[in-house]
Symmetry: C2
Subunit: 140 residues, 2 copies
């Protein structure tokens, strides 16, 4: 198993519901917000992920990164996306049945993620729709 | 550094251009297609990635997976996405300056990726537009 090297911390106050186990459809409502803890990303994580999944010179080496379009070492967008998933999974969101997605309609990497950056996720429930194919499930 | 455990192989005939180094804007045209090699994904990869980035019981344990909405062990969608990036990077696509994306307008995981599945990527150049912010770059 891969050793998890990320530094995780909570940056939010203890929530009203400290023992959340699983949430069901009726536990969600539009306007509800969720915040994750934080994960700090270091240069070693960036290079390790890149070596495995995004082996481009500017992801692996500071000097090559300096000369690249990103003007310095930055995390692979897929690394940022994967960390975002971890932050969501370990947050209080916890839908019963798990977080399983079918895709995204809009997905953007607006700014480079640099060594030493702290990542956290904020989410808001916009709408709740019962799944057509699996009526016991919901999309939000 | 993470040890790369993936089995990679080429499933396509040797190309006309065996020594592709980097492609520039004028080397791309609409209708051009690219195929990657293959990567086989095993249960151990699925669990290792999930432990780090998507630690939900049904990603980590066969029994929990059997009872989940995916009805068996399946790769995290972010794992599939990351492998897709690797396949693109090591393919003959090789744009000068590297593969750097700003995001996706439509991104879907249509089917679960199971242990033993071979993954490969096929891509087609639909359109080439000079970047507005960085005229020396291009989007495709």
């Amino acid at each position: 198993m891969t050793v998890i090297m990320y530094t995780e911390g909570r940056d939010c106050e203890p929530r009203q519901e400290p023992f959340v186990t699983e949430r069901y459809l009726e536990d969600f409502h539009a306007g509800q917000t969720f915040r994750s803890g934080r994960i700090r990303i270091e240069a070693s994580h960036i290079k390790s992920f890149a070596a495995e999944f995004d082996p481009q010179p500017f992801q692996l080496d500071e000097r090559a990164a300096t000369d690249s379009v990103l003007a310095g070492l930055a995390a692979s967008g897929w690394h940022t996306a994967a960390i975002t998933m971890r932050l969501r999974v370990v947050s209080d969101l916890k839908p019963a049945g798990g977080i399983v997605g079918a895709g995204f309609d809009e997905f953007r990497w607006p700014r480079p993620v640099r060594p030493g950056d702290d990542l956290r996720v904020e989410g808001e429930v916009l709408e709740i729709r019962a799944s057509k194919s699996q009526p016991a499930s919901a999309r939000s």
